[in-house]
């Protein structure tokens, strides 16, 4: 009985994973592009105060985390509750204690975590060259350029991941997201220089 119960919960989890994967990419892309935009903006404005830049970027990363966590939880919970209510009406049954009921309670949390953590972790990864600016002094490029480089790698990787999911050519999919990132940078640099 226990293995059967687990199997059904795993089935529900697998369904949630496809939703979480979508959120993971959407909000991960949001987070990476936001950090790329901020770092590019700091570089364009000639910012030299690294602690100020790090604080601003961390603030944005935390805001993205909270926003991702709460928005996904609220929307997913509402969707699940609606789905459960419709199924209850069709079956004329209270499903609170069934696998459906349990899934509708814990899966929104799982999806919310994926949606919240993806921009936070990607932001942290992009900010690593700023955190370790002193240790990376041997590198010929300044910390902001290093961070931009990491951001571009992250965005390209997200594109590759998308390509793997959709079973299309991974390089083309990666290049597509990279073009979006470069276009964003060009716009920011254009406005940064004209201000």
């Amino acid at each position: 009985m226990t293995s059967t119960q687990n199997k059904h919960l795993v089935l529900h989890s697998l369904r949630a994973w496809s939703i979480a994967r979508r959120y993971l990419i959407t909000n991960g892309f949001d987070g990476a592009l936001t950090m790329l935009g901020m770092v590019t903006g700091f570089h364009a404005s000639g910012m030299t105060e690294l602690p100020v830049a790090i604080s601003a970027c961390l603030g944005a990363a935390v805001a993205l985390f909270i926003s991702g966590l709460s928005s996904a939880y609220l929307s997913e919970k509402a969707e699940r509750e609606n789905e459960l209510r419709e199924l209850e009406q069709a079956l004329v049954l209270d499903l609170t204690e069934s696998d459906y009921g349990r899934a509708s309670r814990y899966l929104p949390m799982l999806v919310a975590l994926a949606n919240g953590l993806s921009p936070l972790l990607l932001s942290m990864l992009i900010l690593l060259p700023l955190f370790f600016a002193e240790q990376l002094q041997a590198l010929p490029s300044p910390p902001f350029i290093n961070a931009i480089f990491v951001a571009l790698i992250c965005i390209f990787s997200l594109g590759v991941f998308l390509g793997k999911i959709s079973k299309t050519f991974w390089l083309w999919s990666g290049l597509r997201t990279l073009i979006i990132a470069i276009l964003t940078m060009v716009i920011i640099l254009f406005f940064g220089r004209s201000l």
Binding site: T4, H8, L11, L87, A90, L91, L93, S98, D99
Partner: protein, 88 residues
């Protein structure tokens, strides 16, 4: 004392778990349970099914609890086969 050898239930279930998973879950409840599940009607969100359970000692309460756990409900008990284990 009596034991249940065969049960035919009218069960209304959601589309998930599918018929195979649903029947397998019920079969796991007893070492010698044999399950036959026939889908009678398919609606937008539900399926009406006829579930036949055969075994030497079927525990109806466990079957009913497992069915409800999977989000389905027993509409009616359509057929039973019970036998006595002691002569009086």
């Amino acid at each position: 004392m009596t034991k249940i050898r065969r049960l035919v239930l009218d069960v209304l279930k959601p589309h998930e778990p599918n018929a195979l998973d649903f029947a397998s879950a019920l079969a796991e409840l007893g070492a010698d349970y044999r399950i036959t599940l026939t889908v009678i009607e398919v609606d937008k969100k539900t399926e009406s099914t006829m579930v036949t359970i055969e075994g030497t000692d079927i525990h109806f309460d466990n079957i009913k609890a497992a069915i409800e756990k999977m989000g389905a409900s027993v509409h009616s008990l359509d057929e039973v086969e019970v036998y006595g284990t002691e002569l009086t």
